[in-house]
């Protein structure tokens, strides 16, 4: 990185540290913080979409769809999310490969499951064996995102269906009295009013999502935890920058990162909540309404 970094063994003190903290692997470590943020940015809307679908399905008039929605929202109540993470990341991979196998190699003679092996034809492999390294990494990340979205979608579906129930019934009944169909009443009355009730639950969910991101490590993605363990481990003198076991310091850095992330989220979500309460016929909205005229011209 710096011009004086060419011979690491001759360095000392602050210069050694400056060179050490700018090695290629450290750059990958810093980039992995970006991975966490990208995961958050992609997963949150996707999970919200899954959640909306699940919540609407639980209200559906079609019984099988309703059961599907109820089953989806029920799964997260009793079972730890880590179980889903470990399950989906393999199950999704095998599911995709099995589907491709059915489509691409219809006359494959052997069964897919042979004892303890899962064998599909070479064309069905995802990503294919000849694909470059970044394709493998991107595929791993994509399965991780999908896994997160499925699990957090179920949480979000719970929050949203609770919010839909919280919208006063009279509102929907009035819409129906005006001659709107069920679908119109849902789209024009229920959904727009739902958000103010859903926001506290969704804020909570965001905090949980933030705190679940280090689980990417369990899904085999080279994330912040992976690099902290990798870089912090003791380096003998065969390495360019030998040092004792520094994992404690790396994990302290991660702790600081997450504390900052949750603190910032808390402040931002508090503001959003305030913004959404403005003009609402709720206790929080009433408090805001009364707080403003103090000193302001009538």
């Amino acid at each position: 990185m710096f011009p004086f970094c060419e011979d690491p063994s001759a360095l000392e003190g602050a210069r050694w540290m400056a060179c050490y903290l700018t090695t290629g692997k450290h750059m990958a470590f810093y980039a992995s913080f970006g991975t966490v943020l990208v995961l958050l940015a992609v997963t949150a809307p996707l999970a919200l979409l899954f959640g909306l679908g699940g919540a609407l399905a639980t209200r559906s008039a079609v019984a099988p769809l309703r059961w599907l929605g109820q089953g989806y929202t029920a799964i997260v109540r009793g079972v730890p999310d880590v179980v889903f993470f470990l399950f989906f990341v393999i199950a999704l991979d095998q599911g995709f490969e099995w589907l491709r196998h059915q489509a691409l190699c219809p006359d494959w003679p052997m069964p897919v499951r042979q004892g303890n092996d899962f064998v599909v034809c070479a064309a069905a492999k995802l990503p294919s064996n000849s694909a470059p390294q970044w394709m493998h990494e991107a595929y791993g990340f994509a399965t991780a995102v999908l896994t997160f979205a499925i699990v957090f979608g179920a949480f979000a579906a719970n929050v949203l269906s609770g919010a839909m129930r919280a919208v006063p019934r009279a509102q929907v009944e009035t819409a129906e009295a005006y001659g709107m169909t069920r679908r119109q009443a849902t789209r024009r009355v229920l959904l727009p009013q739902m958000w103010t009730y859903a926001l506290p639950g969704l804020s909570n969910l965001w905090m949980i999502l933030v705190k679940a991101t280090p689980l990417l490590f369990l899904l085999g993605v080279e994330d912040v935890v992976y690099w902290a363990r990798e870089l912090g481990a003791m380096k003998t003198s065969t390495f360019d920058y030998p040092h004792p076991d520094w994992r404690l310091w790396y994990f302290l850095a991660l702790l600081a990162f997450y504390l900052l992330l949750t603190k910032v989220s808390e402040v931002v979500l508090g503001r959003v909540q305030r913004r959404f309460s403005r003009g609402q016929a709720t206790a929080a909205g009433e408090r805001l309404r009364r707080a403003v005229p103090a000193g302001a011209p009538a």
Binding site: R77, V79, A91, N116, N158, N204, K211, L254
Partner: protein, 283 residues
């Protein structure tokens, strides 16, 4: 090997190191390596549940008292009490449990191997790096912080009239706390605390996937499920087994906490509704 033999061999496999000094039956040392039967998977994963229950029950039991203390400290007007408690709760609620496990393990490993010399007595430290102690401490602090937040919310929402009535009856200090403040706080906090208990049990599955190694393959339910999924390359059997075990555990927790809730609300004519898991409030 019949299924009953498997159960006898593996039911206490997850704690087999402790079999000679506790009343735990000895078990087979080697895990099955091939030709896994459904019975083996159910037995070993069930055996792992011993750890999940152990961590959950002890962390909750100890955490309850620390949480009440923390909530009182945060509710106090004395900044010397309030600030440290605020920071403690912020630290443990603001960071992922997964990172806390790693951090605790790395910190505990750095303690001197030989132990400390305090007043001529050597204090051993090696056991702290083992999951049964180290992870329990982390879970204890973690659940205390989350529960303290719930209890603080309950303390803040104790009806003013109740406290005024207590004072009108001449109750002050400790008597007032013991007879009015504490029971009312508990009653108001209980639905939220039930939820916290459920999620604490779920959080125990992280122990053996973070810094703490599973000593001699003695792990929790998810550890064994992961073992089977890795060996058979089939996630569709072991993970649903863990899921079913946890659904059962969750129902037990809800039943137990529901019984306490009915007792806490027994003086109220119709408020003693059932405690329901409130999935929209997740920790």
């Amino acid at each position: 090997m019949s299924c009953w033999d498997t159960v006898r061999a593996y039911a206490f496999r997850s704690v087999h190191d402790f079999s000679d000094w506790w009343l735990i039956p000895a078990s087979e040392r080697l895990l099955p390596r091939s030709d896994f039967t459904l019975c083996q998977q159910v037995t070993l994963i069930g055996s792992g549940m011993i750890w999940n229950v152990y961590f959950g029950v002890l962390a909750l039991a100890f955490g309850f008292f620390l949480a009440v203390g923390l909530a009182m400290a945060r509710f106090s007007e004395n900044a010397l009490l309030r600030k440290p408690a605020d920071w403690f709760v912020f630290l443990f609620r603001g960071s992922p449990l997964f990172i806390q496990f790693f951090l605790a393990y790395e910190a505990l490993v750095l303690l001197p191997r030989a132990g400390f010399e305090i007043l001529g007595v050597t204090v051993e430290t090696g056991w702290l790096t083992r999951a049964w102690a180290g992870a329990l401490i982390v879970l204890f602090f973690n659940t205390s912080a989350y529960a303290a937040e719930i209890f603080l919310g309950a303390l803040r929402s104790i009806p003013k009239g109740d406290l005024e009535a207590a004072e009108a009856y001449g109750l002050t200090g400790w008597t007032k706390f013991r007879r009015i403040t504490f029971p009312t706080m508990l009653r108001l906090a209980w639905p939220g605390y039930t939820n916290e208990a459920i999620f604490l049990f779920h959080a125990t599955t992280l122990v053996f996937f973070s810094g703490f190694p599973a000593w001699r393959q003695m792990g929790d339910a998810l550890y064994y499920a992961n073992y089977f999924a890795d060996k058979t390359f089939n996630p569709f059997v072991p993970y649903p087994i863990v899921a079913l075990y946890f659904v059962a555990l969750t129902l037990l927790v809800i039943a137990g906490f529901g019984a306490v809730n009915r007792r806490l609300n027994r003086h109220l004519p119709d408020a003693a509704g059932r405690v329901r898991a409130r999935p929209q409030i997740v920790r």
